[in-house]
């Protein structure tokens, strides 16, 4: 494409190979995407100027809506409008039924799968697929803004997410066809956003209370290295629980009869609105209408505090534990950072300040800080900052153990061990001729296996039969930098690698992901058309920018008035076609632009060659 080659000799149109990347905060309530542009990290807005994408997906008869448009369907069509699915990530059907009071959906247990699915009008979907829709929307929003494809993304997860929840997040990204550079813990991301700003060293506590998860992390900052000293939390505690507490209070006050899904959704929406307005106001009015029944009332700050105090108190237990695990006292902490929308609640701020005896920092928007930190790391990981010293050292949030005799757990890797990490363990056979054994891996801090979270069962097969106790099987547990676990096994006396059959306790199998990807391909005709159009739009924008720049620099010198007018006219048409929804038309228009500027391009080439040669001896010029 000739126009792109218009440049001064010795100068390239692309000064350095910049690769586009983004940080994605996949939240319970809202999700965001951020990117580093011209050295500055910021969240990216959608076409309506909104930075926060509600994490809500509506499954309609014909199409899927994500974000604001889905949110509007929530009170009309609650059963097909899925929200807060982050709480279901990596969860089994048993966990989900416990959440049943909170979420109104119809869950389906599939005999062939470990993943519970929600019944919707357009089929049964898992939380992973719902999350993939949100990720797709954010990625395309970023690509639209940046004008190019993303070469990689960093997705944030609560630090306290276990292996199954992390794996589910990775699977969602796979379904959304994103290249994940790293899963980054949310508190660490927040610390990066603050830390790089302040260029300060010291110990910081990050208190992150989101819509559905709570995290507390203690980090040590030293010359660009962000080292997590300890992390803790509750992966099922957040603003949603506050909404529910208020909702129950409204139910008790209103004495509504016949509560259906629509009414309970309306009550929850009213509860959240009341909570949010009590951030600035002393009193909030509530009004709920359902058919003939209606209720009007009000709630004040004192009442709210009483309802949510037990929930906020629950966050302080992990706070105490991380201080102990980090082996520090409150006095050692230099800064406290507040993250997550729920830290806007006055009682949260008050209790955190009292607990840490420290006025928390909240200069950065608590909703956006995590995505911004993720964008900064994505920019480094994708290779745009080769000189950066930034390094994020994370830890394993929950101990990994295996099941031993009598249903007890034996710790293999303790919580708060820096990752990546590997631990090897030797087993022996207890029967003559034994050629297989099974290992049950769990995650959690409790003594009893049944109190921990089952991750996977490994069946080791194919080691040589020997007398009892003679075989030595070395099992290595590996946790990578994303906090994800893998296992390998070897019979050390013979060097035979044992076969491992993994049965993940939760999550999708590879085959399930394959099927989903294939199905999404079948449904992707529309996606492909949209992608082609987008590519042409990007191309058209490039062409227009190039011709504009050229006209400014030497248009008057090289072209006649008529020639300039002709080029301007074709350019105008191209700009118009950019808005059209037809990729073919745009392609033709780009071709026309190239043709119209052919002569001009040739003249520019000649001139620059002449200029380059002017005043030089022949032997100085190497062609």
């Amino acid at each position: 494409m000739a126009l792109l080659q218009i440049s001064e000799p010795g100068q390239s149109t692309v000064p350095h190979q910049h690769r586009y990347s983004a940080g994605i905060d996949l939240g319970t309530t809202n999700s965001l995407v951020a990117s580093v542009r011209s050295g500055v990290a910021d969240t990216l807005a959608d076409v309506d100027g909104q930075h926060l994408l509600p994490s809500i997906v509506h499954y309609g008869d014909e199409r899927i809506l994500v974000g604001q448009s889905a949110q509007k369907m929530q009170s009309v069509d609650p059963l097909n409008t899925l929200s807060s699915v982050k709480r279901l990530m990596g969860r089994g059907i048993d966990d989900v039924s416990q959440l049943g009071e909170v979420l109104p959906y119809e869950f389906i247990a599939d005999a062939d799968s470990n993943v519970p699915r929600i019944q919707t009008r357009s089929g049964n979907v898992s939380a992973i697929e719902v999350s993939a829709e949100i990720l797709k929307t954010l990625a395309s929003q970023a690509e639209q803004t940046l004008g190019d494809e993303l070469s990689g993304v960093v997705i944030t997860v609560p630090a306290y997410f276990d292996d199954a929840q992390r794996q589910a997040t990775r699977d969602a990204a796979k379904l959304a066809k994103l290249n994940v550079l790293r899963l980054l813990n949310e508190p660490t991301a927040a610390a990066v956003a603050y830390g790089l700003d302040a260029q300060k060293d010291g110990i910081i506590a990050v208190y992150d209370l989101g819509g559905g998860t709570f995290d507390i992390s203690i980090l040590r900052l030293n010359k660009g290295i962000f080292e997590v000293m300890a992390t803790g939390g509750d992966s099922s505690l957040g603003g949603d629980d506050m909404d529910n507490a208020i909702g129950e209070w409204i139910l008790a006050q209103s004495k509504f009869q016949n509560i259906d899904a629509v009414l309970s959704r309306r009550i929850l929406i009213a509860a959240r609105a009341a909570k949010e307005s009590l951030t600035d106001e002393e009193k909030a009015e509530i009004s709920i209408q359902q058919g003939d029944a209606s209720w009007q009332g009000s709630i004040d700050r004192v009442q709210l505090d009483e309802l949510i105090r037990p929930l906020v108190k629950k966050t302080l237990t992990p706070c105490r534990r991380v201080l102990r695990d980090a082996n520090i006292s409150k006095q050692d902490i230099d800064e406290v950072i507040l993250v997550g929308g729920s830290t806007r609640v006055a009682l949260v701020r008050q209790m955190v300040t009292e607990f840490f005896e420290h006025e928390p920092m909240c200069e950065l928007d608590p909703d956006r800080v995590v995505a911004i930190g993720a964008a900064i790391q994505a920019d480094v990981l994708v290779g745009n900052k080769p000189d950066s010293e930034m390094l994020l050292l994370d830890v394993l949030p929950l101990s990994l153990s295996i099941e031993t005799m009598g249903g007890l757990s034996e710790k293999i890797i303790s919580r708060n061990t820096p990752i990546p990490v590997a631990k090897a363990q030797e087993f022996t056979t207890f029967k003559d001729g034994q050629t297989s054994m099974s290992i049950h891996v769990v995650q959690g801090e409790r003594e009893l296996i049944s109190d921990c979270r089952s991750l996977a069962r490994f069946e080791l097969r194919g080691f040589p039969p020997k007398v009892a106790g003679a075989a030595r099987i070395r099992v290595t547990y590996q946790v990578d930098a994303d906090g994800l676990m893998s296992v390998r096994a070897e019979e050390t006396s013979s060097g035979v690698a044992a076969h491992i059959d993994v049965k993940p306790s939760y999550g999708l199998t590879d085959a399930e992901i394959e099927t989903m990807l294939r199905e999404s391909m079948d449904h992707a005709q529309g996606d492909i058309a949209a992608r082609m159009l987008k590519e042409q739009q990007v191309e058209a924008r490039r062409v227009i920018e190039a011709i504009d720049a050229a006209l400014i620099s030497d248009g008057d010198a090289l072209l006649s008035k008529t020639e300039i007018n002709d080029i301007r006219q074709v350019r105008g048409q191209l700009e118009q076609d950019m808005e059209s929804a037809c990729a073919d038309r745009l392609k033709k228009s780009i071709k026309a632009m190239e043709k119209a500027s052919e002569a001009y391009v040739a003249r520019r080439m000649n001139t620059s060659v002449k200029e380059a040669l002017a005043g030089k001896q022949i032997d100085e010029v190497k062609l």
Binding site: V380, L391, T417, D480
Partner: protein, 182 residues
Amino acid sequence: MQTLDLKQSYFELFGLDLEFDIDLKQLHAEQQRLQAIFHPDRFVNASEQEKRLSVQQASWVNEGYETLSNPVKRARYMLQLSGLELNDESETTSDTVFLMEQIAIREEIDECRSNADPLSCCNHIATKLRSRSHQFGSEFVAGFSRGDLEAARLSSRKMQFVQRILDQLMDLQIELEEELEI
């Protein structure tokens, strides 16, 4: 890509002399220096093989750091390096004086709850336990340096016992703090 000699000991890896009393600051600084070189984040755009190597080496550095930063694990590791085979489960102690002392401390901890000032009671016991742990550490050093690995093993075992009680005491402390809302 640089590679580490996985055959060297953790002491060699972190540039430390093979002794129980190590400079923890140096250990920490070396861990960070090595992670800055080998962490998988430094190899995001590298080949699959380099990525695997990086995970392996960074993991090894972290395992070494974990082992040496914890006094009990450090002592046990030193015994292993000296060729002693250790098995936590079958190891018992027949030191009755030590066992009596353990039982007494556990009773003291149980009584803390009913104490008028349970937190200072906890702190008092914790201080006592820490000084015992130090003492067993010195005994370990003495045994190890005169080549009496069996005596050193017993001392390390006692350190392990004391550490476990300290962990339980910390759990109790958190529980009490919650009840008292501190």
